[in-house]
């Protein structure tokens, strides 16, 4: 079989932007899904992932345009290129979905996640936790004589690294928001 022709300038709802789908390599993609902010829309999106056996690694949802009534769902998923294309096409045909952007392939993008970490410790461990928080530019948002709650923003990898460091220093709980992402520049 010959590889697919890839048409330039096609939008996210067309099949022409399909990349060759021969690879069996699992890829991680960040998708931004713009939807009508109506009852049940999140269930539709999540239901699609569970019904068709796709993965969700991270999911964030919030209204982003109150006047237009639009929400933005950012979902990080993994799959072979063929599965990723299927996910995008399946998302695109949900009636309240306006647009699906694959930020991983549509040029450079920024990704950020926020996390709160509760760390309890005494003495040198406590001082070390504060020192590392400073290095990671994490803020202290709650403090007792025996614990801190740190607020940290960054890529998921940075948060993973910070959490790993906090673990031996008395990490009790982590709350993460999941990834929010935007394309760079004016695109």
């Amino acid at each position: 079989m010959s590889p697919l022709h890839i048409k330039k300038g096609s939008n996210s709802h067309s099949a022409y932007n399909l990349r060759p789908t021969f690879s069996d390599v699992q890829e991680k993609h960040t998708l931004a899904v713009l939807v009508d902010n109506e009852a049940g829309v999140l269930a539709r999106v999540i239901g699609l992932f569970s019904a068709r056996g796709y993965n969700i690694e991270s999911l964030t949802v919030a209204e982003v345009d109150h006047v237009g009534g639009l929400s933005r769902i950012t979902v990080v998923t993994t799959g072979t290129p063929q599965v990723i294309e299927q996910i995008k096409a399946q998302l695109g045909r949900i009636v309240p979905v306006h647009d699906v952007h694959d930020l991983t392939v549509e040029g450079p993008s920024v990704e950020r996640e926020l996390a709160l970490l509760k760390v309890a410790g005494e003495g040198e461990k406590r001082v070390e936790a504060l020192r590392l928080a400073d290095i990671f530019r994490a803020n202290v948002v709650d403090s007792t004589l025996h614990s801190f709650v740190f607020e940290i923003t960054g890529t998921p990898e940075k948060i993973d690294a910070f959490a790993d460091l906090m673990r031996p220093l008395g990490l009790l709980e982590v709350a993460r928001t999941g990834v929010a992402a935007l394309s760079r520049g004016t695109a």
Partner: protein, 584 residues
Amino acid sequence: MTRQMTGAKMVVQALKDQGVDTVFGYPGGAVLPIYDEIFQQNGIRHILVRHEQGAVHMAEGYARATGKVGVCLVTSGPGATNAVTGLTDALMDSIPIVVLTGQVPTFMIGSDAFQEADTVGITRSCTKHNWLVKDTEDLPHVMHEAFHVAASGRPGPVLVDIPKDVQFATGTYAAPKEVKLAHYAPKVKGDMEAITELVEAIEQAKRPVFYTGGGVINSGTGASQLLRELVDATGFPITSTLMGLGAYPASGDKWLGMLGMHGLYEANMAMHDCDLLINIGARFDDRITGRIDAFSPKSKKAHIDIDPSSINKVIRVDIPIVGDVGHVLEDMLKVWKARGRKTNKEALAKWWAQIEKWRAVDCLKFKQDGPTIKPQYALQRLEALTKGHDRYITTEVGQHQMWAAQFLGFEDPNRWMTSGGLGTMGYGLPASIGVQVAHPDALVINVAGEASWLMNMQEMGTAIQFRAPVKQFILNNERLGMVRQWQELLHGERYSHSWSEALPDFVKLAEAFGCKGIKCDDPADLDDAIMEMINYDGPVIFDCLVEKHENCFPMIPSGKAHNEMLLGEADTQGVIDAKGSVLV
């Protein structure tokens, strides 16, 4: 023109404004206000069903036979849950229907009220879209949008859940043209670059084949017309899925017959050996492809589909074209004609010579001998005796369905209604009533198996009440024939629960319902019996006792390729390996 009216009245008004003339439904507590409005008008005919599943299949039959949107009205809770099978069936086969469900009043939602069910939750995955209307002011907009979504793009079922207090409350009605529909507007025009690429491939192809599906039927009669023009002008062979029968006439000389698991030898061999495969409105279903990695290995593949998610879902294609079949075919023909109507005639002649060799195998041959009616013979006679009639065929699901697809010929679209994707036993009887309601003077026959037919036989009451003279042609082998066939091939002839015991006497059953029953078990009597059925002015239950152990051939066994078909009993020993036996 905007007017103040109750939600219930809005529902009826919106149906009228959408051109609806028939509603299939069943009343209940949560839809009483709407039923009260239906009582006080004459524009919309209400067909009272006997079970909500029947209502949905009737609406499907109606929609398929007319090209319009089918409409159902059912109550909350069990009314809605009974509609789920029909909704799933319509979703799988892309049939446009609107199901209206009553719901408990908004202030009781979530309280586990009597006959409350989370209808939009339950039906979210078996509808194209659904709505719970919590405010009467939203109702006109949602009603009109429901019809828009059901009918546009890839058609499908939608559901509107209407709480009882919303039906009682008063609001402002808006007509369809006053309503701003949401952004939903699927692309219908295909990409011209891709279309040109396909035309180039058509010009060069040595062994081409058209593989068409239900998308051609859904695109309207114009699309079928364009398909015929394209096929006849290029001289390419054409095969079709179960859902696409009738788009190209069975009497056409380019017709190879149905393809797939029980498709014709010549159709499947052509698919396997072709060098250009043009999929028009089909979706590479597993009944069609057989073993994926051995599917049409030598071909360049083009795929025309209105649903982008159908493309590269199962089979990777070289020329994807997203668009409505009718629009794309029109552009294809234009481009092909403008470029000089070229095909590789020499190679085509060789290709046809090969196809004729496959045809000569005569894969549907059977021998009607002995005192028992062969199911194939019954259908052959039915075909011969009903050919000239204004005929519509529905089916149930199983062996009889495949035999009907093999032995009945369809000359026009919208004449063949069968449950393809979901394979819903119990579809055919209600669907036949839906078709008959749409075409009161036509000959509507449900080709059935006795086991499938029993699943929704209560709808005979509907047929009699509304004088729908549907003919129930039951091929009675006292078996779940397809299950039995698989048990024979795959499970060591251990026929676990695949026979119909304690069957009713169908003639007496017909009499009990108040219609005509005919029983036939002798090949010599068959023609007269079929003529009696056709000529009877009213519903008929025809009990055709057939050979009990007949298997349906040809067959591509699970996990096998198109060129590994079984043509008859002699081929069946040990053909399905362990890997194939886990497939359905």
